[in-house]
């Protein structure tokens, strides 16, 4: 393909994308001359260039569209729903031909007579019709549903009566409102300036730049090490350090694209689907300017589309059902993107029927995903998690929208593959929210460096849930066996073990060394939980992921390679593939089921037992994000409030134990901060030691028999639970009121 054609294809795609956005907006504001002009220009440009390049089929189709658009632009015709549907068909037709040109170089032998005829028909009768209507509105100033034109071959659903188009006065008042709600920017002027100040760059070139920057980072590390002793070099190397960091950031930024790139596809999908399903849906989008790495954006396109389809098909009810339930007949679908630290959270929420947990329970039993006995014991939250199991679908009938049993598990797998997480929240009758938590970039990930076979390997932090240290003296008894399957008893539950050295070098013995420390990395990959036994741990590092050649990728254990700070190469282990290779089954769901089998067990929450200034306290383990050891100098103060700049976010640090005060004056002193999640925010708690993880029992107040809050029985000691909600928000000015309960011995 020659350069000219390639350029033409890229430009046409962009033009058509713009046209698609404008068309869905046009439905809200049919008289908007700016939108019509924009659409006309896109088609006109295609027509003009095709004539030049000699694509006759494309030219003919574009020409037919241009005629219709010309009438619209000149105000001779008004864009109603039929015309917009016709224009969307034109858009699809043009896209199909462009795709053929891209694949084959020629435009294929297909014929578009039917479509061209349809576009022609839309010009005439609808034109007359519009005239009539204009007369009606001027005379009567009222508007009822119009009779369907004879030429209509579109199935018309009750929802497809044009709502705002009919009353010009109302329309004027309404016009700006939807634009604001959608976060849409005025398009025409923006397009002009963007073209002048931006430049198209090949992704391959960006990847190469990223590689070279990675290389530079490495060289810088070595330069810094080599020149550390030379005072004359310090200044220079410090500058090198700074420039490198800035450059790295700039190149990473160049790979970022706003989520509007995929959000902008949604109005069309929602429009088409709600029509074919007979739903009435209003789409609201927020945070479209949020940026994400290009490759990640590609990766979440399918899961997001799927989630939107699900919301329309299973979530939002039919208009009459909604009305009967006392809701607005028009459903609301909200897409929201927001950056939270090193992640971008994308939410798809609807105000539909929610997920009926009882249906989920029934379906899961019917499909044989869980046994009836277990299903009864499951709580609402656990039941919701079942929809992520492969082969689960609650759609009563298989529709072509969704419900083929390849639903949410695909969403979850796709998102987890790129290091993300999926959460679901649903309330019956109120709606469902699906939350995709995506890392900002794939190119650089946090990883723990482990040692095995005298080599370094990188374990992505995303899959790592905890580390267990087994000292040499405990090595002999730490592992239990069922036949030849090694198991470790982790807080009372058996954890299957995989020995990394044996996995990599079959034939080695599965045994912990009695001569040195052993470590088990507890991993959770796609619901598969297991312990990976390694010989040693090195520091966690932010690693730059380098792709492997196909031959090595085919081994299946490695997802890439990286260069470590000490210039060593390390292979990046893929926990999911290791689990598969070692035959670890999807046990996470089973385990949660086991955990709640015993009612008493269900009430037990796991706590992180910490010590601060001689007192013990408990932090709910589920809320703990990280335990950070850092020098006191990292703590900064806003007024009297200690804060920590953690991964670019400001974290209020709770210091009821007086740890920070005690260490004051020694900026090098190491302190431990437990980073916790509290609602939507993160808080830090300064402690002197982290002691253990244990399950706590409820304590009952003597006499009343009521469970007392704020305390738990941990290892037979009454221990205070840190009230995370009590950590004052930044800028609230209120004094925090977390209390460390004095421990008591039962």
């Amino acid at each position: 393909m020659d350069e000219l054609t390639r350029e033409f294809l890229i430009e046409s795609q962009e033009g058509l994308d713009r046209m698609e956005r404008c068309l869905t907006d046009l439905e809200e504001r049919p008289q908007d001359a700016g939108l019509l002009g924009e659409i006309f220009r896109s088609v006109h440009t295609i027509k003009g260039t095709t004539g030049f390049l000699g694509f006759k089929r494309l030219e003919k189709l574009a020409h037919a569209g241009e005629n219709l658009l010309g009438l619209l632009r000149d105000g001779k015709l008004s864009a109603d729903r039929l015309i917009i549907t016709g224009l969307l068909k034109l858009l699809d037709g043009l896209r199909v031909i462009l795709k053929i040109i891209e694949a084959e170089g020629g435009e294929g032998a297909g014929e578009d007579t039917a479509l061209i005829e349809q576009l022609g028909e839309l010009q005439a009768p609808a034109h007359a019709h519009a005239e009539v209507r204009r007369a009606e509105t001027t005379v009567l100033a009222t508007a009822g549903p119009r009779p369907t034109p004879v030429t209509a071959d579109e199935p018309r659903t009750p929802s497809s009566h044009p709502r705002p188009a009919l009353e010009p006065s109302e329309m004027v008042a309404q016009a700006p409102a939807p634009a604001d709600a959608d976060g849409a920017k005025p398009r025409a002027p923006a397009a002009g300036t963007a073209a002048e100040s931006s430049l198209r760059v090949d992704v391959a070139l960006l990847n190469r730049m990223m590689n070279l920057v990675g290389e530079l980072v490495l060289t810088r590390n070595q330069v810094l090490q080599a020149t550390a002793a030379d005072p004359k070099m310090t200044l220079l190397s410090r500058r090198l350090d700074m420039v490198t960091a800035d450059l790295r950031e700039a190149v990473m930024k160049a790979r970022m694209q706003p989520v509007s790139n995929i959000f902008s596809k949604m109005p069309r999908i929602v429009r088409d689907l709600s029509q074919s399903l007979g739903r009435r849906v209003r789409l609201q989008m927020e945070g479209q300017e949020t940026e994400l790495d290009k490759s990640l954006l590609e990766a979440i396109k399918d899961p997001l589309t799927h989630a939107v389809r699900n919301s329309l098909d299973h979530g939002i009810e039919l208009p009459d059902v909604r009305q009967a339930a006392g809701k607005d007949p028009e459903g609301l679908l909200k897409l929201r993107a927001v950056q939270e630290g090193s992640h971008v959270v994308i939410e798809v929420s609807d105000d539909g029927a929610g997920i009926a947990v009882e249906k989920v329970r029934g379906k899961a039993i019917e499909r044989g995903l869980i046994t009836p006995e277990r299903a009864i014991q499951l709580g609402e939250r656990e039941l919701l998690q079942l929809i992520f199991l492969p082969g689960f679908s609650t759609a009563a009938a298989v529709t072509n929208v969704s419900g083929r049993g390849v639903g949410m598990d695909v969403v979850r797998t796709n998102v987890e593959r790129i290091g993300g997480k999926v959460e679901i929240d649903s309330r019956a009758g109120k709606g469902t929210t699906l939350r995709l938590r995506i890392p900002l970039t794939l190119a650089i990930i946090p990883a723990l460096i482990v040692r095995s076979l005298e080599q370094s390997f990188a374990l992505p932090q995303g899959a790592l849930s905890e580390l267990v240290h087994i000292p040499p003296e405990a090595a002999a008894k730490a592992i239990e066996w069922i036949e030849n399957a090694p198991l470790y008893r982790l807080r009372g539950r058996l954890l299957p073990l995989v020995f990394l050295d044996r996995l990599l070098m079959p034939g080695r013995e599965c045994r912990l060394s009695g001569a040195q420390d052993n470590f088990i990395a507890v991993l959770d990959a796609d619901g598969r939980r297991f312990g990976l036994v390694v010989d040693g741990l090195a520091d966690p590092e932010e690693i730059v992921v380098k792709p492997l050649s196909a031959v090595l990728k085919n081994i299946g254990l490695y997802s890439g390679a990286t260069v470590l700070g000490n210039a060593d190469l390390a292979l990046i282990l893929d926990p999911g593939s290791i689990a598969l290779k070692a035959g670890i089954a999807m046990t996470a769901e089973e385990e949660t089921v086991c955990a709640v089998e015993d009612e008493k067990e269900a009430a037990r929450i796991e706590y992180l037992l910490v010590e601060a200034a001689g007192r013990h306290a408990a932090v709910p383990l589920a809320d703990v994000l990280r335990i950070e050891q850092l020098p006191l100098s990292r703590i900064e103060y806003i007024g009297y409030r200690p804060v920590l700049n953690f991964e670019g976010q400001l974290l209020p640090v709770e210091d009821s134990g007086g740890i920070l005060a005690a260490a004051a004056g020694n900026p090098e002193a190491q302190i431990i901060v437990v980073v916790c999640r509290e609602g939507n925010r993160h808080v830090g708690i300064a402690v002197s030691h982290v002691l253990d993880v244990a399950a706590g029992d409820d304590l009952f107040e003597a006499g009343t028999g009521q469970a007392s809050s704020g305390v738990t029985l941990l290892k037979n000691r009454v221990t205070g639970v840190v009230d995370l909600g009590g950590v004052a928000a930044l800028g609230s000015g209120e004094q925090s009121h977390v209390e460390w309960n004095q421990e008591a011995v039962c």
């Binding site: 590689n211 080599q455 380098k546 792709p547 090595l552 490695y558 260069v563 190469l569």
Partner: protein, 161 residues
Amino acid sequence: MLNPSGTELSSGKKAGALVEVCSVRLGQTLFGVPIRHILEIVGSARPQPVPLAPVYVGGLVHYRGDVLTTVSLRQLLDLPPKDGAQAILVIEGAGGNFGLLVDSVSEVLTVSSVDFEPNPSILGERQRALLAGAYKLKDTLLVMLDTERLDPLRLGASQAA
């Protein structure tokens, strides 16, 4: 530079197309790689072994911001592994660049097609697949390697077959 093996450009009297070949040493044999396939020569590298990789993979090396898969020529020709650092020819392959691990790199020779002979029929099946004939030098043979077939992608495919 004095050539220890006594190889040199064969006499320029004869006509024929001239080809530039990088000569490398492996054990006793002198092998040649057409210079236009070589991106760079990296001396004294220690590739990082990759557990569970196919035997012909010599390991990974860090090359200009990329991680390069290397192919061990010794392994391919059934020679015993050699301790210590090896030299790497970075070669442009169909599926990306790869490294060829050799004992040492000698000089670049210009050879004439007049001196070329195709693979002899007594060569084994495996060797024949990797070699692309030989140039007769004054007192030794320069055995040509077929870089296309040395590509790990290609080797992987042929091993799977």
